[in-house]
């Protein structure tokens, strides 16, 4: 038992820790998503300005040296470009000659292929024509067959229609019979429901009877404990409320609502309840109530 309790406690701790971590992970994810489109910071350039001030002196010198170097380099580049162009022109002429020869050969080949293709096409056309003729014949035969079939079907439909009419008549007869049966069943069900309702009412009546008996027993007990004062008159009606605990012991009693007796009578009625000590309980457990109200009556001896 003790070990089990410790295990349970540990499990509870782990569960709550998991939930807490989940809450934080969700919050962190929201924050990261929400700040995704922030403009990134540029790193601060703390030393940039001082360096620029020192560089002003040397700038012109550096520029001159750079210019001389740059010019020499440009002259060299121009010479190289000229030589390159000449080499390219020679290569170009050679390429054109080869291309012309290749074109002549290609032309001859192309004509041969063209002739071959034409011959093939004529052959195919002939075959196609034959096939079409055959298909037309077959189509004719098939149409004839179809016509026959349609005629047969029409006859069949007519027969079906007659059968259908016959069946409809039978169905109508059957439905009438069924409706009659249903009406009878509904009438029976209605009768049964009425009987059930009567039974339920009777059961409720029994409950109400038991409650009536309970109230009656309470009234009898209170009346037995009542010491009638001389001022009490017949026709006394007092509404009482009693708070009790299981077992029937009375916790408090008081008059609620109308009471047509004088002060002494009222006091005597409450005293009667308190003298009773305990209300009836055995046999009335089903209708027991913590607070119960009833009317105390006195109609003369």
């Amino acid at each position: 038992m003790n070990l089990q309790a410790t295990l349970w406690e540990t499990w509870e701790q782990a569960k709550s820790l998991g939930l807490a971590v989940a809450v934080h992970v969700i919050a962190a994810a929201l924050i990261v998503l929400g700040t995704m489109d922030w403009k990134p910071f540029k790193p601060p350039q703390i030393t940039g300005m001082t360096i620029e001030a020192v560089m002003v002196d040397t700038q012109a010198m550096i520029d001159r040296r750079d210019n001389a170097l740059r010019e020499a380099e440009q002259a060299r580049q121009r010479e190289e470009a000229r030589q390159q162009r000449e080499r390219e022109l020679a290569a170009q002429r050679e390429r054109e000659r080869v291309a012309r020869e290749e074109a002549a050969a290609e032309e001859a080949e192309r004509q041969r292929i063209e002739a071959e293709r034409q011959r093939q096409a004529e052959l195919r056309l002939e075959q196609l024509r034959e096939r079409q003729e055959r298909e037309r014949q077959e189509e004719l035969e098939r149409q004839q067959a179809e016509l026959d079939k349609i005629r047969e079907q029409r006859a069949e439909v007519e027969r079906q229609r007659k059968l259908e009419e016959e069946r409809l008549k039978q169905l109508a007869a059957k439905r009438e019979a069924e409706e009659a049966a249903q009406r009878q069943a509904a009438a029976e069900a209605e009768m049964q429901r009425q009987m059930a309702a009567e039974q339920a009412a009777r059961r409720q009546g029994q409950m109400a009877d038991l409650r009536g008996q309970y109230i009656g027993a309470i009234q009898a007990q209170v009346t037995n404990n009542w010491l009638r004062p001389s001022t009490a008159r017949a026709g006394l009606r007092c509404r009482l409320r009693v708070v009790q605990i299981p077992g029937g012991e009375i916790i408090s009693a008081g008059i609620v609502g109308a009471c047509n007796g004088d002060e002494a009578t009222r006091r005597s009625v409450v005293a009667a309840v308190e003298r009773a000590g305990a209300l009836p309980y055995r046999g009335f457990e089903d209708v027991f109530e913590r607070e119960i109200e009833f009317t105390f009556t006195y109609d003369g001896d």
Binding site: H24, T35, P40, F41, P43
Partner: protein, 228 residues
Amino acid sequence: MSNDLHVWELILNASLVVQAVMAILLAASVASWMIIFRKRALLNATEKAADRFEERFWSGTDLTSLHNQLTHNQDDDRGMVRVFLAGFAEFQRLRDQGRASADRLVGGAERAMRVALTREMDHLEHRLSFLATVGSTSPYIGLFGTVWGIMTSFHALANVNQATIAMVAPGISEALIATAMGLFAAIPAVIAYNKYSNQVDRMELRLDNFKEELSSILNRQALAVSGD
């Protein structure tokens, strides 16, 4: 990617003091959420058990058989049930010993119930004060981290002739994260503390009422016993 400073990189690049503050706040927040979830489960279970027990108690069953049922079935063994079991067990024990007056019977039962009630209340209130502490102090801890971060980021400006806002902005932004975390930890803790302490108070009132009612019932039974 050195100039791509997102929030998590700000946290990683923060100074050691600010990072320590953030770590403390994160731990406090996780702990307070743990307590929030556990307290919620405990208080809900206690209230449901009390509802079920009150319904059974006032439905008119015999107290002795109710006591026997409850000692055998320990599912709802918390809160109101414990108060009832403590009080009624003591009452039965004294009554079986005999020779005890009605006052002593009821007095003993009341003492036992008071002890059980105090123990239950202690169990319910356990660790609630931690929530109050987190709720009231974590904003200050976060503020401390922020102040420290801003201090260091201004300190770095001391040697520079021409200061720009771009030089301090990342530092301040980084420092303010500490305040945000402090508030994030504090707000749920305060809300939960108020809610749960109110719930615990109502539970205490309910248990106290029940104790009084039960002792008046026991008083009647004791009078009936000593009267016989």
